[in-house]
Symmetry: C2
Subunit: 380 residues, 2 copies
Amino acid sequence: MIYLDNAATTWPKPPGVERAMIETLREKGANPGRGGHQMSLAAGRVIYQTRELIAQLFGIRDPSRVVFTLNCTEALNLALKGLLRPGDHAVISSMEHNSMVRPLKALSYNGVEYTVVPCNERGELALDDLERAIRPHTRLIALTHASNVAGTLLPIAEAGKVARRHGLTFLVDAAQTAGIFPINADELNIDLLAFPGHKGLYGPPGTGGLYIREGIPLVPLKHGGTGSSSGSVEQPETMPEMYESGTVNTVGIAGLGAGVSFVLQEGPEKIRQREESLLERLREGLAAIPGMKIYGPAAGSQAPTLAVNLGDTDSAEVAFLLDRVYQIGVRAGLHCAALAHRTLGTAKQGVVRFSLSYFNTREEIEATIQAMEELSKELL
Amino acid sequence: MIYLDNAATTWPKPPGVERAMIETLREKGANPGRGGHQMSLAAGRVIYQTRELIAQLFGIRDPSRVVFTLNCTEALNLALKGLLRPGDHAVISSMEHNSMVRPLKALSYNGVEYTVVPCNERGELALDDLERAIRPHTRLIALTHASNVAGTLLPIAEAGKVARRHGLTFLVDAAQTAGIFPINADELNIDLLAFPGHKGLYGPPGTGGLYIREGIPLVPLKHGGTGSSSGSVEQPETMPEMYESGTVNTVGIAGLGAGVSFVLQEGPEKIRQREESLLERLREGLAAIPGMKIYGPAAGSQAPTLAVNLGDTDSAEVAFLLDRVYQIGVRAGLHCAALAHRTLGTAKQGVVRFSLSYFNTREEIEATIQAMEELSKELL
């Protein structure tokens, strides 16, 4: 099949990912940090190496500030619920994923307030609007780096400066950009960086993480055994154990390490150029089809995700035909982002989303354009 | 090496586990429930099949009441933090793991109270003591099924009846018993059953879950995208999506399915008999060594875990020598169970813990006994 659902999870993974997972399962299958024996130590090294690679990728000086989670959603929950207390106010954009909005909605029942800054119909955020939303009790600015629906990039560099100027904590959701766009946490003034392991970092599902800048006080989402300070019923405050209670996903994290190694080896710049070139061809090819509606930014840089509709045809019908007739896997409907669809004006129709990875080919893009041409003739 | 640290995580895994993981990574690597295309549906089936197998193992009628988590610790956090509100009171035993005690300690700062019912020096819990700890505002009885330190079984069948009689919710931590002892959630009056995927169920790390009986109202630990009700910023209340925000560990859950299949195929009874027979031989062999202190129940049924000390020798020293000289991997020190060590009187010395799985052999046990004999001569 032609897999164009990489914004949900990338597939395939680089070959090293499977190898690293098998090796860990077979030879380093013990519980890291839970025993001093050789296999436990070997498992601990696997975890630490991946932590170091991620720190390297994101310009993080202290790898112990990188905490592993089940996925990016857990990382966002840890950041939001760990930071915000009753009376606090947060500012977000209208392009956020439900993994940002739903935790805030849940917190709002406990006295946390938030303001959704509206983006324009292309998903673009105006900095002035962002800054105007700041109130005296604002504690956090939280933005997605790129929309998971339309690929629109949000101005996180500028937003980070706004956050610094106002003394606010700055959280970035890198679900669609980690491994694709350069992210240097220090330079971008990012205090909390949530990322999935299984998308642009090419690790397996079951991996993700949160970078927590030193001095940002987060209450853990989960308390429990940490393999350290075992004699105390209080959660230890050492990093990263404080936020990694219970057995970590050693095998998955080994795979993630191989994925990040792949990204570092190929170079994010080369990855992005390839994806951008494929995306441009897709956009160009689809734009020439009569009745095609293309959402998101008009041109220029964006995440390798293109949201379209064929006239007024239900997006689910188009996706269904792409899958069954053409063996092309895409996602349709609403993409776990209620606010973003309202912003784009697609809350009813949804969108057909094509999302690319480094492993897609020019041939796949051409076949996709051709399929859409045929569907356009048939459906419109 | 001789791996006797199975209470931390079992190793090796049955061969089917690796096969299932590779197959899912290679052929079903899409995001389940996030798209209608073929590969996404295939991934969804993998998840559902594992849910069904777990439901079958634990006598759960509705598989959708089984929620996947990163590990057993997350399941316990979801159960405790999801259920208990300020003013509520919980009753636990003094043999609980830190994954039970630390969340409660954290909740206690928000007005939740809990009583720790002391067990005797073998880790045994008296039902009368448990019942006497119930107060008018008690909402929950929460017990580990077996101590992770000494293997002592707690009387969960009787405790479940006590909970029912008093109209209390009953939470069982099956970290050391899932896949080893028969657990029928209905028959045992269990409302919340937390289990790891990577111990007695022989799945990979990064897997675990919580069974939530219908009608038990839990606030989710994490909110976010669920692939359902995407148009709403409110968390959906459908099962299991309500508690599974973000991308699940598809590859790990595929492995877990193979692990549970293995358990169901071999039969928990056969697994337990084999482990009990190995444990009995280990106990008998170690008991004959001068200066050996053995903790936990005097005889009879227990989890396949034996806690010992060689005279007053530091448990970490014994474990170190077992590893370096004899290539035997065990855990020493305090086992993420502050209260349990105080109960057993081992808070200072810790214990050397031998924990077995179905894959250990008689030869390994004999070699371990011999190693301990030699260490006894050398150290005492």
